[in-house]
Point group: C2
Chain length 279, copies 2
């Protein structure tokens, strides 16, 4: 029996160290950080809009939405109890001032946290995925990592999957209901894609995905820095795409022929009850 | 000409003072505050979940989601550079520690801002709508105000509209597609509604809406406090509802007969293209 409990101890120890080892890779921290960054960005935007709207009651003539240091201005005004606001706004009372000040402080803190997360993303993404980060940037590379779930999975994905990471919803809508197939997911955030003419965006995303897939394999397996050469190749491809004559739109019938035929639609996305008659 | 510019000055002054007067009512500040509170609550929840998940990498055995002082614990751990974490978590590096600490500080600030907003809601709602606040609470009363757009509009609404404030989406879905009509909007947040048996919720919301509509008229017009009596009446009605025998479900056909017949559905909520064949 004494042996048994000793064995039990040893097994627990082993399980614990297994967990520790599994988490020892920094990619888990990076994934948490990038998700925190994405969520925080949304919260911050929401708070900025609200702050601008709220502050607009007191100084309607001097608020610009999205103003960078609005939170700081609000805090100053609230500290003075709304004194020196404007000739046409509402006069703030003390209760309002302290609520508004606290909300503005929250906004300032959100900005600080965003900055700090961005700094970490930069360091960690360059450490874990130097090639992929060099090709894109630390935010896009980390978001791809988080969508894939681990660097191993991301590195072993085919380029076409990397291209569509983040577009799962549109992809399944395509398969189920036959809407247009998506061309890009996370990669849509690339400046090269965003700024491209509409008919080139898809091709540019594909080129990026191809090179990224090579870069990620280097990041995970060989750990050599090859992104210099990759970026040169990439830029050449982008140039070719930009110079290519605009594609002719195929005729409706021809277009249909060669394409993947989506499954017939099932389910009832229109909310009709089962057995209910069509009108 | 000198006269003209003087006139112009005077008119601008008048417009400014008009704006000032329009905003002089505290209800605008209250509406901003309650919206800020609602949005901030969501952001805070998102951040708490992320924090728990992130912290779980370092101390998997000691994280409970929704833990009240998690942010403070995270800050302490991060300040020590992850020292004294746990036997099985990941060891934090310096970059991680500062990002995580900043994120946790943001969480703490969000809590503080929430508290401060709640304090303001309490004061202002009791000042502006003492009757309605007494019947429900400061959060529900303020949210109703914000949905209505002004105290005047809210006070002049019929009880049935008050009952459905915040359920606009469900109401239009009902009108357009014939789904079940909503029973409550914001009023669903009342503890009396939440905790009631399913077949009583609608009736309880209706009773509340009726009394609220009277209370709001007193808040806006007579400014007398009559909510004491209203609450007594309300409680009696609630008692009657609780004691009433459960309603028999009407037969499908009978139920259809007496009901509002929704408009035939139009539009294409299933995303089919115009002219596309049904399968």
């Amino acid at each position: 029996m004494a042996d048994n409990s000793e064995l039990r101890e040893r097994l627990i120890e082993k399980a614990k160290s297994g967990i520790k080892e599994a988490y020892s890779n920094e990619e888990y921290a990076l994934m948490q950080a990038v998700n925190a960054w994405l969520e925080l960005g949304k919260s911050r935007n929401l708070a900025s809009e609200r702050l601008a709207e709220w502050f607009g009651i007191y100084a309607p003539e001097s608020v610009k939405a999205g103003e960078a240091d609005l939170a700081k201005r609000v805090m100053e005004l609230a500290e003075k109890g709304g004194e020196g606001g404007s000739s046409m706004g509402r006069r703030m009372n003390g209760d309002e001032a302290s609520a508004l000040k606290s909300f503005a402080e929250y906004g300032v803190k959100a900005d600080a946290a965003l900055e700090s997360l961005e700094a970490y993303l930069k360091v960690a993404a360059n450490r874990l995925m130097p090639n992929a980060t060099y090709l894109t940037d630390e935010k896009i590379a980390s978001e791809l990592l988080s969508r894939a779930g681990s660097l191993e999975r991301l590195a072993t994905m085919p380029a076409s999957t990397v291209q569509l990471l983040g577009a799962e919803k549109a992809l399944f809508k395509h398969i189920k209901y036959g809407s247009k197939p998506p061309k890009y997911g996370v990669l849509f955030k690339l400046a090269d894609v965003t700024s491209a003419p509409k008919d080139q965006k898809g091709r540019i995303a594909r080129v990026y995905a191809t090179k990224l897939s090579i870069a990620l394999k280097a990041d995970y397996f060989s750990k050599r820095f090859i992104a210099d050469q990759l970026k040169k190749d990439l830029q050449e491809s982008l140039k070719r795409i930009a110079e290519a004559p605009p594609r002719q739109r195929p005729q409706q019938r021809q277009e249909r022929q060669g394409r993947f035929q989506p499954r017939k639609r099932f389910g009832r996305p229109d909310g009709r009850q089962r057995g209910q008659r069509r009108n």
